[in-house]
């Protein structure tokens, strides 16, 4: 593991190199092989990340093992910490790799630092020293005393703690699976190399985001992933909707990032550093350490610092809400589904959108002491979770349902971190990454097979044509719905439990959302994969996998392939043949015939192996691995075991400082972290079996309801929707939020823009234009008066000049 830490720069660098190779040589030389550099780059950085994780697990002493080094150190005097610091440099041969002291304020910690180089250094300046009242201080001779103000110095360095290690594994691991999937999914797309180059760049930025040891590196990665998100949403740039969605994502994120940027600046102004833990070996000078100390009143703050601490969380939160698509900045995420599906899986479900949760977990210390901020996050998170879940009830586009579901689940994560259960939030982040990536990739397979159609009203019973996808998506749906003993069950449960402990109403809202989640997830599943086989008639124009402007040949081919599936199905599944014949609309056949004999023959020729065509191994393998993850990830944090994800994450210095800060705040104690206080607190787990029972029951009820409404009697759902038509319309229109934004923000801004454009064109440009007339006119006048073309005139002027010069010299 020392090797990995010493060469940790390879983790971001390899994907970047891959991206560079794919980007520079892809168009001309690699072409259809452009996925190789990215596979190699991301794959090897995944190997490094897992080596790091397992190395760290090897160094980790779970709490209840007793004895152990951590236990002893915990009992030691705080003064011993510094001694421990010096003696426990893991990589003594390399000064830039530093291990943290193994304990921090009597909590065990596990963290390593890797300093690379000084990134930004702005010189120091001398200012007059002031005393507590702000009056200048003078020395004996009456001269004002000066002191040196801290440099603006930012190091490029990495911090490796359990949180980073877990995030890295999620990013590179799931990232690698998705690049594997993309090979099959994106095959033959125009700009194949471009897609992979962007993916590599994204992984680079995302790893920088989670590995950086200070807020500015976090911000660098933050903006970088925003850029990659923009590029990838707009991947099909010949499609207007994709361009609009890309711009929308970028602009909405600017709103949040503006707040985030201000928050970072305020951190620097108030505390003189943006590094989380400052000089890694010596505790005390980092931003989070200062904030934690402040909570204990160990370090009296100036009024300005107190005010700053009041505002910093709100500013940082704004950034998190933008990136993680929380109300009111969530509007970009559903539109972001215009990007290719693997992008939706990787960026807009598994990794980038969780950056906000990561940031709040990382900087938890700044938040826990600020009750209004925590309440805001909890309220926004819970509201978003419920709000997005209700919208998802009435969406018909597969990817849109999952997009709103992602927004909703991110709300869950925010509630988790806000109710002082950051471990639960991060746990849900991990499980969600697995099952949501799985679901998106599953919908990608559907989209691939259905020639770009994603409307669940146009398809049904796909289980017969996509048998493997059906199974994997079922696993993903069960996990998302929180079905007992699937991963989502455990992680959601912890958040709901912590929320209930925190505030009954909050917990109830979370439970209601969990119910809606189970319902809309299985509404989708039952409609798309179960029931009679119905295949879409023709690709929907302008949406989905293919190009909107596909020519008629491509159309014919797509339709033929859709009917080929049907043909193959009818030939192979003898028992279902009658059913399929009866239920499938004749029009599907019709279309194939309309396109002429050639298309039809083509369809039949491929009829027999249609199943294999649409579920190639390179696409099914990632799905299978993700499905295994979606089942097993929940056991990472089995509550009764001390050696759980929670115990591991609990040793991240970020979490330790947050516990410390929380301890310092009146009315809060480490027990409020409840779920995973690294120190044994037996009473904290009591609540959870009861919650598990309730949430498991709720999930099953939701699934059953979906079964009744969407499988047993599909007309029933429509009747219900009819009976509450206004509500249905409201949900289908997504609460008219986009329209409200259009009217309240976009249109006024556009009007303002027009006004400014007019002012610019008429008044500013007019003034500038008028100024340009002055030299023009004077030059014209001079030309008329002097330059007349008479040689004698010029000679006279010359003479005159000479005379003037002589006069000046001699008189």
């Amino acid at each position: 593991m020392d090797f990995v830490i010493r060469h940790s720069y390879l983790i971001p660098l390899l994907p970047l190199l891959g991206a560079a190779v794919a980007g520079f040589f892809g168009a001309r030389y690699l072409k259809g092989n452009s996925h190789w550099p990215i596979w190699i780059g991301v794959g090897s950085s995944a190997v490094l990340s897992f080596t790091l994780l397992f190395g760290m697990l090897g160094r980790w002493h779970p709490q209840h093992e007793g004895g152990g080094h951590a236990g002893e150190a915990r009992a030691a005097e705080p003064a011993a910490e510094h001694a421990a610091t010096a003696s426990e440099n893991t990589a003594a041969d390399d000064e830039s790799a530093v291990q943290f002291p193994e304990t921090r304020r009597d909590y065990p910690t596990l963290a390593f630092g890797r300093h690379l180089y000084t990134w930004i250094r702005a010189g120091s300046k001398q200012v007059e020293a002031t005393d507590a009242q702000g009056k200048p201080v003078f020395d004996a001779s009456g001269q004002p005393v000066t002191k040196s103000v801290a440099d603006f110095e930012i190091n490029a360095g990495f911090l490796f703690d359990p949180l980073t290690a877990v995030m890295l594994c999620v990013i590179t691991g799931i990232g690698f699976l998705i690049t594997v999937f993309s090979k099959g999914y994106m095959a033959g797309e125009e700009g194949y190399f471009r897609f992979f180059a962007y993916l590599g760049l994204f992984i680079f930025m995302m790893t920088i985001l989670v590995m950086g040891e200070n807020l500015v590196m976090l911000y660098l990665g933050w903006e970088g992933v925003g850029l990659c998100s923009y590029l990838l949403i707009g991947y099909y740039y010949d499609r207007p909707a994709a361009r609009e969605a890309a711009k929308k994502a970028f602009l909405v994120n600017r709103v949040g990032d503006f707040g985030f940027g201000l928050g970072i600046m305020l951190c620097f102004l108030a505390f003189g550093t943006v590094s989380y833990f400052g000089n890694l070996a010596t505790p005390g000078d980092g931003l989070l350490e200062q904030a934690a100390a402040a909570a204990h009143d160990m370090n009296p703050l100036s009024t300005f610092q107190q005010d700053a601490l009041r505002w910093i969380p709100f500013l940082l939160m704004l950034g998190a809400f933008g990136k993680s698509a929380q109300f009111p900045l969530y509007v970009w995420l559903p539109d972001a589904m215009e990007g290719p599906t693997p992008v939706s899986a990787l960026i807009h479900a598994a990794t980038m959108v969780t950056a906000g949760v990561y940031m709040i977990a990382r900087c938890g210390t700044l938040f826990v002491t600020n009750q209004p901020a925590m309440n805001t996050i909890a309220v926004v998170g819970a509201f978003t979770a419920l709000f997005a879940a209700t919208i998802a009830l009435r969406q018909f586009d597969l990817k849109k349902v999952f997009a709103y579901s992602t927004v909703s689940q991110l709300g869950f994560m925010f509630v988790g971190v806000a109710v002082l259960a950051p471990v639960a939030g991060v746990f849900h982040l991990v499980t969600h990454a697995f099952f949501k990536a799985l679901l998106f990739l599953g919908s990608g397979v559907v989209m691939h097979a259905m020639a770009g159609v994603l409307d669940m009203r146009k398809m049904s019973g796909l289980r017969r044509v996509l048998p493997w996808t059906d199974k994997f998506v079922l696993v993903g749906c069960l996990a998302l719905a929180g079905f007992p003993f699937f991963s989502g069950f455990f992680s959601k449960d912890e958040i709901v439990g912590a929320a209930l402990q925190h505030n009954l109403f909050l917990g109830v809202v979370m439970l209601l959302t969990a119910f809606l989640t189970a319902y809309y997830t299985f509404r989708l599943y039952f409609r798309v994969f179960r029931g009679p086989l119905v295949l879409p008639e023709a690709p929907a124009g302008g949406h989905g996998h293919g190009h909107g402007t596909a020519d008629s040949h491509a159309d014919a081919h797509s339709t033929a392939s859709a009917s080929a599936i049907q043909a193959g199905d009818e030939e192979e599944s003898g028992v279902d043949e009658h059913l399929a014949n009866r239920q499938a609309p004749a029009s599907a056949h019709h279309v194939a015939h309309d396109h002429g004999g050639a298309a039809h023959d083509h369809g039949h020729a491929h009829g027999h192996d249609a199943h294999h065509n649409h579920e190639p191994l390179s696409m099914m393998l990632p799905l299978a691995i993700l499905a295994i993850g979606a089942v097993l990830a929940g056991y990472l944090n089995w509550p009764e075991r001390a050696a759980s994800l929670g115990g591991f994450l609990g040793q991240s210095p970020s979490f330790v400082e947050a516990y410390r800060a929380a301890e310092g705040v009146a009315g809060t104690s480490a027990e409020h972290f409840g779920v995973h206080d690294p120190r044994p607190t037996p009473e904290t787990h009591e609540l959870f079996p009861a919650i598990m029972l309730v949430s498991g029951f709720i999930s099953i009820v939701g699934i059953l309801l979906a079964w009744v409404m969407h499988l047993r009697d599909r007309a029933r759902a429509e009747r219900l929707a009819e009976s509450v038509a206004p509500l249905t319309r409201l949900l289908e229109a997504k609460y008219y939020v986009d329209e409200i934004y259009q009217a309240a923000i976009v249109e006024p801004l556009r009007a303002l823009g027009r006004a400014f454009f007019w002012i610019d064109r008429m008044i500013i440009d007019g003034a500038v234009g008028a100024m340009s007339w002055v030299p023009q006119l004077s030059g014209y006048a001079l030309k008329l008066g002097v330059q007349r073309g008479y040689l004698q005139g010029y000679a006279a002027a010359m003479l005159f000049g000479v005379v003037v010069i002589l006069l000046v010299i001699f008189l």
Partner: protein
Amino acid sequence: MTQLALQHYLAVGAIMFCVGMIGFMTRRNLIVMFLCTELMFQGVAINLIAFGHYHGNLAGQAFVIFVLVIAAAEASLALGLVVLLFRTRNTLDSEAWREMKG
């Protein structure tokens, strides 16, 4: 009759220069204007020789030899140009080239 002093030479040079200048200003025939510039040249050359003689060294004369050589080259060029101009417009009037102004 006193001996010729420096100022006599200078006066001749100045007169030649002024005659040339006045000629250049008043005449419009390109060849005449060219001759006038030559006249101004020789006025200056007389000045130089006079000063050289006055100071008792040969620098002035050496300089004038240089100037004359260059003036000869320049004269051939200028006359060539004048011939070209005449061929183009069939006149020697400098007014004919007024549109050459910027």
